[in-house]
């Protein structure tokens, strides 16, 4: 027991693991299969450095803050324009 518990981690460990897995966790899927990936997973490592967080590419422009679209040639605008023309005509009447 005083030896590092890592030694001889074979049969008994397996026995216990198998015991736990013997429960039908896999065959009987829970009702909410969709919920499966909405959990925040544990990280495989405890700590890391700033360098480990860096991803290639542009990191400064993640968000568009000015996105108003002035193009009125697309279909929706064309339809609205048509409709608004009628209102205009009725106003003049």
């Amino acid at each position: 027991m005083s030896a590092a518990p890592a030694s001889g981690a074979t049969s008994a460990a397996k026995a216990i693991t198998t015991d736990k897995n013997a429960e039908p966790t896999k065959d009987a899927k829970p009702a909410g299969a969709l919920e499966e990936d909405d959990e925040f997973e544990d990280f495989p490592v405890e700590n890391w450095t700033q360098e480990d967080t860096e991803v290639p590419g542009d990191n400064t422009h993640l968000w568009e803050e000015s996105w108003d679209d002035d193009d009125t040639s697309e279909d929706f605008s064309a339809q609205l324009k048509e409709e608004l023309k009628k209102v205009e005509a009725s106003k003049k009447r």
Binding site: E23, D38, F40, V45, W48, H61, E65, K81
Partner: protein
């Protein structure tokens, strides 16, 4: 030599040497485990059925600490009780019955937390407590997804005729005790930071426990119970920056989600952005989880994901769900917006499961009304021929009504009547058609499509009228999303400051993000997001609060 003797001697040895990491290594419960644990279990079953016999044996082999000699550590009554509980766990456990295992593990964790509470020696079991609670939390989460196993519990609860806490909630409560213990520990330094710059004493465990509790509270949808935790953290915790990256990122993720669920989207976006930025580049799954809420919060604040995300693996299947909503807002296309958040998009179910559908639906609708007004203005406003004209640019509310009614009709399935002339020309239109007025929409022969409350422009099949449109525009003005005023008599929205702000579009329709950020920043008192400790706390519990500069004579005005 029996393995139990070896085990207890080792434990005693670690206590004397004050070795928390070795203790953690020996006080495990979660497979896979070395076979010595199985042997230990068998010996306990064979020889120690009697609890009092076991207790006597533990006390003999693991002596209590000598209070006169602080150099050498040792056991204390709370630890003895925990150790007995631990050995009884191994004696009695049957991993085949997970519900029972959970109960046993709960008792064990509670005993461990009680051992942790010892002011002098408790700290030595901190890593073991974190390990045990973490196993307990995982088991509770797993059981929560297995109603077939917890059904038994529910039946018992029914018999009791009382609102019982769920297994997950109960587990959260147990672990919260350890969290509070770590958070409120009195430390030598008032700010809870040791000489080495790290959190002092048990405070090192604050965020390990907080994250477990938060995960459980989110699982059982009792996030409001986290309120007190965040308040206490704000008051008593050393800065989050002193803790390991995994704890920081996990905590900021839950804090962001908490603010999101309370409609504090600015706080949510700030917390989640920091979580995203600090997340390990290779932890794609976690980055994806963060991103779903980060994008949602930002969209509600008027910031859309840029093309940068297109090449990021964590955004691969996420971006597609949000882009149609963003595009509909850009164009002020209410019909496209209703479709993007409705079942037709194929994304509704996914967005709902993630918990972002309803906030997006209700909050982004405001934004799409803003751009809808902007679009109608763009299509109807005649720029004055005289550049010195002093007349304020206006948007006729009747135009808004006509446009809104047109959209409502399309949503109800109205269509243009089939033109028999065009039909006969095999689709070719007569040149004169260019100068002809498009025919009015007609309702579908089977009657207008029945719309749900949120599927219509204002409410179900209600045809929007001037009163409704004026109310919507007034609300946008009140929220600073439109800049100007309404002339009720003239039925117009007039834009203020068009000259000074570079034209009516810039003046009347300021960028959403600018407006919402300015509003949010006014609400942040000391520059800190609630629940997120960024600077040292000096007026800690038990410390003296320095009122210099804060206390003013009564009636001094400020």
């Amino acid at each position: 030599m029996p393995i139990i003797d070896e085990f207890l001697t080792s434990i005693s040895n670690f206590l004397q040497k004050k070795d928390p990491l070795q203790l953690r290594l020996f006080l495990r419960v979660e497979p896979p485990l070395p076979d010595q644990f199985l042997q230990l279990s068998q010996e306990l079953k064979a020889w120690y059925r009697d609890g009092s016999k076991l207790e006597a044996y533990i006390t003999k082999l693991v002596p209590e600490a000598d209070d006169g000699n602080t150099e050498v550590g040792g056991a204390w009554p709370g630890f003895h009780a925990f150790l007995q509980e631990y050995l009884e766990f191994w004696r009695d456990v049957n991993f085949g019955d997970l519900l029972e295992t959970h109960t046993q593990l709960s008792n064990l964790a509670n005993a461990c937390i009680t051992a942790l509470s010892n002011a002098t020696h408790g700290i030595v079991v901190l890593p073991a407590t974190i390990q045990l609670c973490s196993t307990l939390a995982r088991l509770a989460m797993m059981l929560d997804k297995r109603p077939d196993l917890t059904r038994k519990m529910v039946q018992i609860a029914d018999v009791d005729q009382e609102a019982r806490k769920t297994l997950v909630e109960g587990t959260a409560e147990s672990i919260q005790r350890a969290f509070t213990m770590c958070l409120t520990e009195r430390t030598a330094n008032r700010n809870g930071i040791g000489r080495d710059g790290k959190p002092e004493g048990k405070k090192v465990g604050i965020y390990s426990f907080a994250n477990m509790v938060l995960r459980l509270l989110f699982q059982c949808k009792k996030t409001r119970l986290a309120n007190q935790m965040f308040t206490n953290i704000s008051q008593n915790s050393p800065p989050l920056g002193l803790y390991p990256a995994s704890q920081r990122v996990t905590y900021l993720y839950y804090l962001g989600r908490y603010h999101f669920s309370n409609s504090h989207f600015y706080f949510a976006a700030q917390s989640l952005q920091s979580a995203y930025d600090q997340c390990h580049a290779q932890c794609i799954k976690q980055r994806r989880s963060i991103l779903i809420f980060l994008i949602s919060a930002n969209m509600i604040l008027g910031r859309f994901p840029s093309r940068t995300f297109l090449v990021r693996p964590e955004a691969a299947d996420v971006l597609d769900k949000f882009i149609p909503i963003c595009n509909s807002i850009r164009k002020g296309n209410i019909i496209a917006f209703k479709k993007a958040v409705g079942p037709e998009s194929g994304n509704e179910e996914w967005l709902f499961q993630q918990g972002v559908l309803l906030p997006l639906k209700s909050r982004c609708e405001v934004l799409v009304w803003r751009t809808f007004a902007r679009r109608v203005f763009l299509l109807t406003y005649q720029f004055p021929s005289d550049p010195n004209s002093r007349r304020a640019p206006t948007l006729d509310l009747e135009d808004m009504v006509a446009a809104a009614q047109y959209c409502q009709k399309l949503l109800e399935g109205w269509a243009r009547p089939v033109d028999s002339m065009t039909e006969m020309q095999a689709g070719r239109t007569h040149p004169n058609a260019l100068f002809m007025k498009a025919p009015d929409l007609v309702p579908p022969p089977e009657g207008p499509k029945i719309l749900g409350a949120q599927e219509g422009i204002v409410f179900g099949n209600t045809m929007p009228d001037l009163m409704e449109v004026e109310a919507i525009v007034a609300s946008l003005v009140q929220q600073d999303l439109l800049h100007g005023f309404i002339s009720h008599n003239q039925g117009k929205f007039a834009i203020l400051g068009a000259k000074q702000r570079g034209g009516p579009l810039n003046a009347g329709f300021p960028p959403v993000w600018e407006t919402l950020r300015a509003r949010a920043e006014r609400e942040v008192n000391n520059g800190e997001i609630p629940g997120w400790v960024q600077t040292e706390r000096t007026g800690m519990m038990g410390g003296v609060v320095n009122l210099t500069g804060i206390a003013r004579p009564v009636g001094s005005g400020e």
